[in-house]
């Protein structure tokens, strides 16, 4: 342990007040001595990585992930359709799994990596073009939820069967009845991805 230099501000350990020259040294100390993540966040603060961008924000304990992504981050592709847990329209991909943003408390999602339909589209995932081509939307309200669910499927299973696509999308409701188009669009996107991968 060294005395802090006058030229740099002190890096004080919040647990034992030990001082360090650099922030990196402080982090190493906290992890090895106090067995915790480098620095605790103030109560109610979470960090979400959404579509590759880190957002640190304060949330109320009762806020859902839907509220945070839709109302705070302004990503409107997360849709509220059934209201709670029945339709899949608010599906986002969290650490590789499709989850319902309306049923997840934001405060429990600290440190998570999240993808929404907007991120999938910005990354030019072939699902978007195949959905357009096959008219896999009518009113379009449920479409982003289908896209995110399908993307999560293709991430873990790049060559799904029709049955596997139907099973994966079986929890997404569409009142307009676009259902027959989804397996066609997803299988075509999978094909495109495989072709791109083999180039």
């Amino acid at each position: 342990m060294k005395e802090g230099s006058k030229a740099t501000p002190l890096n004080l350990c919040p647990y034992c007040t030990a001082a360090f020259d650099t922030f990196e040294e402080l982090k190493t100390h906290v992890v090895s001595v106090h067995k915790t993540e480098p620095l605790p966040k103030p109560a109610g603060w979470i960090a979400l990585t959404v579509n590759g961008q880190v957002h640190e924000l304060k949330v109320e304990p009762e806020w859902t992930l839907y509220q945070v992504i839709h109302d705070r981050l302004g990503l409107m592709g997360v849709k509220m359709f059934c209201d709670r847990g029945a339709c899949g329209s608010c599906t986002v991909i969290m650490d590789g799994r499709p989850i319902l943003a309306c049923m997840s408390l934001a405060i429990e999602c600290d440190g998570k990596h999240i993808q929404t339909a907007e991120g999938i589209a910005e990354a030019k995932h072939p699902l978007v073009e195949s959905y357009i081509k096959h008219h896999t939307m009518q009113c379009g309200y449920c479409t982003p939820g289908f896209i995110t669910t399908a993307k999560a499927l293709l991430d873990r299973n790049p060559d799904p069967t029709v049955e596997e696509v139907m099973e994966a999308l079986g929890g997404n409701l569409c009142r307009c009845g676009t259902y027959p188009q989804h397996p066609k669009a997803v299988l075509e996107a999978a094909q495109t991805l495989r072709e791109e991968g083999s180039k």
Binding site: M80, C82, C87, I132, K133, T143, Y179
Partner: protein, 809 residues
């Protein structure tokens, strides 16, 4: 020529009033009718970037919640809102006794030939028509108080702190019981629970004579229970005041009409209301204003709350609160039908008792479709303590329900193939109702319809010849009983609607369609752009539309009645033709040739006789600009033309009926598990004559999409009330079950193009038919499978087992 002798649509009053007749194309189709045209709204919807009203967030916006009655019939005796008003974060409370809302009724003064008469609107069946009153006549009704707070959570918490003393009143849930003499009267001071409806009796010919001519008489009863829209986007509205100007975001099919009603109810001049209608997450009649009771109610509440709070107010209902309506086909019916041995139906007599609203009487498709000479249809409607009933994709539900069951019962009693009975009675080939035969002659249509083609295509696709059998006679190797059924009707276009739009060629040669239009998912804008592309001679990709703002002045016909395209196709076609004429007039000077010697193709203007004499459209319009304030002396007028079109009037294109030439046929194949009572749909074939498809994928989308809604209505969708309290038990999308991807197979959708439609290029509408036709079809299919009738919809496993005698109640 005396105008009063002619119907409004046979008089050419102005350029916009169209003589409904065979519309032959004058151009070669490049985009119209072609597959693979990029869907206009596709990227916005797939990428999550499409903005819906529910998504709108304004700075400083407040959130509102309205109290929902916990009782099916009750009056507020005492209302204490003090604790709610004091709750932190609550900004405004609007009580029913506030002078701003007290006594305000939903009616407005919307009567007249082009508007809906109050008695036919969605609130007509409500005995208490106040927007926010002190009396609830169904569980879940908005009543008593609305609060406005910093968040939805705070608003909901505040409502919990409202103290109410209720007086509960007797309830009635069954429409037939409501008409019994001993039933309590639901409306204080009324003689009975019957709702007066001028359509109570429809007759044609003399049914007694028809029964005498008959060789067989068939009698049966049927019931249909309530279902509803359950659209994707929750009902919502945002209101914001700035001085005397009001800005609104509305989730509605008919935003212009909503503006009109709002102005009539709250005395706000229409030109002070700026309305935005963004993408719409479904509608199916629910967000049809003024039809829907809640839609206009929440508009008025949001406007009053925003005025009181001095801030923007958003009012969104939650999913439970959206179960505030029911379908207008809740009916108990008795039928007596006379027929000859060859399948000729000689007389139909029907009597139905409806709950809260009679969408249609049940007989109208028999009038429009068939040559049955003797008809008598009684429809009585009774008040019950259930939500207001209304059009539910679509109002024809009772009509096709009755037609399907009547035809199937007759074919079965006579031992005939139902497709033959349909052809025997169809009003085609010179046997149409008299008005239609005359209409066809006068307007250039051949004297035929397309039922035979539809039936032939459908029979082949489903394998009718090989597979159809007598009821209850085919058990499959998997142990289930096999069933098949068929039904048919005419096309669906309501033959009504008025729209206007402008087509403008910008300085760079790109083209804008200027008009507000609500999109409920039927891909209309792609179709309009296809039409403009072909009529104007520019690439589809060079055309844009920005339909979200009502303040542009032009508004296209709202998406209802399956007559979106029927009206608006003509509007954009005419506007494009006029813009093209302006363009050619402009080019005439530059080419030094008469305008009629020139043409446009792929945005190149050329001389028809010497195509090498050409100029890009962009060069022609370079100096034609609407920017008249720009520096320089520009003398050329902007290339901007607008047009309007009226296509019929509320379903009556002719003095006596609708021009129905296109037909449709629907076939189904099912399996019934006689141990569990479950019905498994294995194949659906929909055949529609659409006259001329503009966007083939869109046509098919309505056909397969509607199948899922139709099957849901037939088998699983039902609003279930607790019989002792009148509380709705399934106010969510887990317990109100509609189809998922896994429930039914993909329908085979075949469309025919005979040019027999009265819409643009011989087309006709297709938005509502399939979802409306399919439900009734399951009755005949289940009968064909098990040999027992279950004409009680939805057809649940319980009812199937009861029909099989396996359970008692």
């Amino acid at each position: 020529m005396t105008a009063k002798k002619l119907g409004p649509y046979q008089t050419l009053k102005a350029e916009g009033t169209y003589k409904i007749g065979a519309d032959k194309p004058t151009i070669a189709f490049n985009r119209i009718g072609k597959r693979g045209v990029r869907r206009y709204d596709g990227y916005a919807k797939a990428s999550g970037k499409a903005l819906y009203t529910r998504d709108v967030l304004l700075p400083g916006m407040l959130y509102s919640k309205v109290l929902a009655s916990p009782f099916a019939h009750a009056k507020i005796l005492r209302l204490d809102t003090r604790q709610a008003e004091a709750y932190p974060g609550v900004r405004t409370v609007l009580r029913f006794d506030d002078p701003a809302i007290h006594g305000r009724e939903l009616t407005g003064s919307i009567a007249g030939p082009t508007r809906m008469a109050p008695q036919s609107a969605g609130w007509a069946m409500l005995p208490v028509k106040t927007i926010l009153g002190d009396e609830a006549i169904f569980e879940g009704q908005m009543v008593g108080v609305a609060v406005c707070a910093d968040s939805e959570q705070i608003a909901a918490e505040a409502l919990k702190r409202v103290k109410i003393e209720w007086e509960q009143r007797p309830i009635l849930l069954d429409q037939e019981e409501a008409l019994q003499p001993e039933a309590p009267i639901l409306i204080p001071g009324a003689d009975s629970n019957q709702i007066i409806d001028e359509r109570e009796l429809t007759t044609k010919g003399d049914v007694e004579q028809g029964f005498q001519e008959a060789e067989q008489i068939v009698e049966f009863t049927a019931r249909r229970h309530a279902h509803l829209w359950a659209g994707a986007e929750l009902p919502c509205v945002i209101a914001n005041w700035s001085g005397d100007k009001l800005e609104m975001w509305v989730h509605e099919q008919q935003p212009y009409l909503s503006k009109l009603i709002l102005s009539e109810q709250l005395n706000i001049p229409m030109n002070k209301i700026q309305t935005h209608s963004l993408y719409q997450g479904c509608s199916f009649g629910e967000r049809c204003n003024p039809s829907n009771w809640h839609q206009n109610g929440i508009n008025v509440l949001a406007v009053l709350l925003a005025r009181k709070a001095g801030r923007p107010v958003k009012l969104v209902l939650n999913r439970a609160e959206t179960f505030y309506g029911e379908s207008g086909d809740v009916m108990a019916s008795h039928f007596k039908v006379g027929a000859k041995q060859d399948g000729t139906i000689t007389a139909v007599q029907m009597k139905s008792v409806f709950a809260n609203y009679m969408c249609t009487t049940g007989v109208e498709h028999l009038i429009d479709n068939t040559r049955i000479s003797h008809l008598r249809c009684e429809g009585i409607t009774a008040h019950v303590n259930k939500p207001p009933a209304w059009w539910c994709r679509c109002e024809q539900l009772p009509n096709v329900f009755c037609q399907t069951l009547i035809f199937d019962h007759v074919a079965d009693a006579l031992g005939l193939d139902p497709t033959q009975v349909a052809l025997r009675n169809d009003g085609c080939e010179g046997h149409d109702p008299s008005y239609l035969s005359e209409f066809k002659r006068r307007h250039g249509f051949p004297d035929r319809d397309s039922l035979r083609e539809c039936i032939e295509a459908g029979r082949k696709a489903i394998g009718w010849e090989e597979k159809w059998h007598a009821p209850g006679t085919r058990r499959l190797p998997n142990g289930r009983m096999h069933g098949m059924a068929f039904t048919w009707s005419h096309d669906w276009d309501d033959t009504r609607g008025t729209g206007s739009a402008a087509v403008m060629i910008q300085n760079d040669g790109s083209v804008s369609i200027i008009a507000q239009h609500s999109d409920v998912g039927v891909n209309p804008w792609t179709a309009y752009m296809q039409i403009v592309a072909d009529e104007l001679g520019v690439p589809y990709e060079d055309i844009e539309i920005n339909p979200f703002d009502l303040n542009v002045g032009f508004a296209l016909m709202s998406p209802d009645g399956s007559c979106n395209l029927g009206s608006n196709g003509f509007v954009v076609k005419k506007a494009a033709q006029k813009a093209k004429q302006m363009l050619l007039d402009l080019a005439s000077e530059k080419f030094d040739r008469p305008a009629d010697a020139l043409d446009v193709k792929e945005s190149v203007v050329f001389e028809k006789a010497r195509p090498e004499n050409r100029m890009p459209l962009k060069e022609v319009v370079k100096m034609a600009t609407p920017m008249l304030n720009a520096v320089g002396i520009w003398t050329e007028p902007p290339v901007l033309a607008w047009a309007w079109h009226t296509h019929g009037l509320w379903g009556q294109a002719l003095e006596t009926g609708r021009p129905r030439m296109c037909r449709q046929a629907n076939f189904i194949e099912i399996e019934v598990d006689t141990e569990t009572g479950e019905v498994f749909v294995t194949k659906v074939v929909n055949v529609n004559d659409v006259g001329q498809a503009i966007s083939p994928e869109t046509v098919e989308g309505q056909m397969y999409g509607g199948t899922y809604m139709g099957l849901g209505r037939a088998l699983t969708e039902e609003m279930v009330w607790d019989p002792s309290t009148g509380v709705l038990l399934n106010r969510n999308l887990l317990d109100y079950k509609y189809a998922t991807l896994l429930d039914y197979p993909e329908a085979e959708c075949i469309y025919l193009e005979t040019g027999l439609g009265h819409g643009p290029y011989g087309s006709t509408g297709i938005g509502e038919n399939t979802a409306t036709m399919i439900p009734g079809l399951l009755g005949p299919a289940v009968y064909n499978a098990i040999g027992q009738r279950v004409d009680d919809f939805p057809i649940t496993p319980h009812k199937v087992l009861k029909a099989l005698g396996k359970i008692k109640e």
